[in-house]
């Protein structure tokens, strides 16, 4: 493929690719307008195929950033469905719209000043208690998080449980877009995970010890020496280093134990 061809717009390139593989075209409706797109494309790629260009609201394209929340319905089904546009492949007759951003209330706080008391969350997000357990948030989660249960856990003051239940949240905000009580669930449960991680989980003592050892200068000399090694010598050192075998017991140690 020539450089010139590579610079063509994505839709045209996709058309060409489509011809090459002769993919079947299926109808989808993007914001109400019908397009024929090759089956097997993700929603995001199908939209690009149809001529849309994502300047924002596309994010990582890997299912982890939460920027491409999509809502859709199929004809004859009253159920609203949700997906991440970069993950879900198109289906015939999807009616879809992007919700890359939804305005919500995000509390301002100085994290260092917070304690792990549930009342901290209650104070920052008093609207928590507007939840009526309608469960629309859980239904709107493309990650399968039990959002309503996580919110219930917060109301019960169980920050650890809220953090556990919301582990897979990627902050796409679709929960908040559907909330009857106008809660920003994803910010509340993020606060829960932050408090849990920083103020409830026990500190890793061995990590603190290791940081102490490093700060005491145990590795300063060897690092300084490595800085002055020539490139070839550095490669040789790396290639000839003693690596832990693929299968090694708990008590495996290298021959050189000076830096353990």
């Amino acid at each position: 493929m020539s450089v010139k061809e590579e610079n063509k717009n994505p839709a045209e390139t996709a058309v060409k690719e489509k011809k090459q593989v002769a993919a079947k075209l299926i109808p989808v409706y993007i914001m109400g307008k019908r397009y024929e797109v090759p089956e097997g494309l993700t929603i995001m790629k199908a939209m690009e195929y149809a001529g849309y260009k994502f300047v924002r609201g596309c994010g990582c394209r890997g299912g982890t950033c939460g920027a491409c929340g999509t809502v859709y319905r199929k004809p004859g089904d009253y159920k609203l469905q949700v997906a991440l546009a970069c993950q879900k492949t198109v289906e015939p007759d999807m009616y879809m719209a992007q919700i890359p951003f939804f305005p919500v209330n995000r509390a301002q706080y100085e994290f260092a000043d917070l304690t792990s008391a549930p009342e901290e969350v209650f104070k920052l997000y008093p609207e928590l208690f507007r939840c009526v357990a309608c469960n629309a948030c859980t239904k709107a989660c493309p990650q399968g998080v039990e959002v309503m249960d996580a919110i219930a856990a917060l109301k019960q003051g169980n920050i650890a449980e809220a953090a556990r239940l919301s582990f897979d949240c990627i902050q796409c905000g679709l929960c908040a877009s559907r909330c009857f009580g106008e809660l920003a669930q994803y910010h509340m449960i993020q606060l829960a995970r932050r408090i849990y991680g920083a103020k409830i989980l026990p500190r890793a003592e061995h990590l603190a010890e290791m940081v102490g050892t490093i700060n005491e200068g145990r590795y300063d000399q060897i690092l300084e020496e490595l800085k002055h090694v020539k490139e070839d010598e550095l490669k040789k050192l790396y290639q000839e280093r003693e690596a832990e075998p693929m299968v090694a017991g708990e008590d495996w140690k290298p021959k050189d134990t000076r830096y353990l």
Binding site: E119, V132, A133, N135, G157
Partner: protein, 292 residues
């Protein structure tokens, strides 16, 4: 014997002194309270608006969790949760049209028709264990402890869900007698504590509380026994202020019924979490040699 159990949010935060002694005591009496999975807020206040079905969703979801477990009975400890859950349950039993709307709204859940029976822990003590058996299990009779039963509203009103006579309830008196305490009847026993009026009229509710507490005092009570965290809040929170305002006002310790139960059954007083009580319940107990 295991019993499906609904705690309620307040029992997990402010009112651990209601929950923990209750669970520990029931275990001694042969009942294991098993918290239902994935429970939500009970709804806090039963919605009286006929067409306000959305506020029935939370309590009914909790009842669905019980049915999912294959259980047919749900025990509650918080009087407010009891009220909300039992009334929502009644709605599902008796109103076919609303039942259908609610079931259809919660289409991700199994259908529910009020199959679960909602009971309060006092009913379990009275109807399943019995006062005589309870009295036999008492290790530390609460002798000479003069306690006024305070029912408030939510265990007795409305009539359809009452655990006892609406006008002249005796369940708390019988409970106290089984524990060896001396119950003190007083006319304000079933008066409302002011409930959520505390939010908009805190000063009025303080004065209201003073009437209730003074009445109990004038009938010879040394303390009040309660079943509801909101009664505890309304009657307890303003006492310090009342002492400052009114010379004659005397601080009155408030106990949850489960604390007295645990104490009488000889459980370690730590389980009672007296540190969460208003006033000084421990000094009264020490005075009566009920606490070391």
């Amino acid at each position: 014997m295991s019993l499906a159990y609904y705690p309620g949010c307040t029992l997990k935060t402010k009112a651990r002194n209601l929950e923990e002694p209750g669970i520990a005591s029931l275990e001694v009496l042969g009942f294991k309270l098993e918290e239902i999975p994935r429970w939500n807020c009970c709804g806090a206040v039963y919605s009286l608006a006929e067409d306000d079905l959305i506020h029935q969703v939370a309590p009914i979801r909790n009842l669905i969790r019980v049915k999912e477990q294959g259980k047919d009975k749900l025990a509650t400890l918080c009087a407010f949760c009891f009220n909300t859950l039992k009334r929502a349950n009644l709605l599902m039993r008796e109103n076919a049209e609303k039942r259908n709307t609610l079931n259809s709204f919660m289409d991700e859940e199994i259908d529910y028709g009020g199959e679960v029976k909602v009971v309060h822990l006092l009913e379990v003590l009275r109807d399943e264990i019995g006062w005589e058996v309870l009295a036999q299990k008492v290790k530390l009779p609460l002798r000479e402890l003069k306690i006024a039963p305070y029912y408030g509203c939510t265990l007795l009103r409305p009539r359809e869900i009452a655990i006892d006579s609406v006008e002249n309830p005796t369940i708390l008196r019988e409970f106290l007698e089984a524990l060896g305490a001396s119950p003190v009847d007083f006319p304000e026993s079933t008066r409302c504590c002011g409930s959520y009026q505390i939010i908009s009229n805190p000063d009025d509710i303080s004065e209201y509380a003073r009437d209730i507490l003074n009445s109990a005092l004038s009938h010879g009570a040394e303390a009040l026994v309660l079943t509801c965290p909101l009664c505890d809040y309304n009657l307890g929170r303003g006492q310090k202020e009342l002492i400052k305002k009114h010379n004659e006002f005397k601080e009155m310790p408030l106990f949850y019924f489960t604390q007295l139960l645990a104490l009488a059954l000889g459980l370690d007083s730590q389980v009672c979490h007296f540190e969460l009580n208003y006033g000084s319940p421990e000094s009264l107990l020490r005075e009566k040699d009920l606490l070391s």
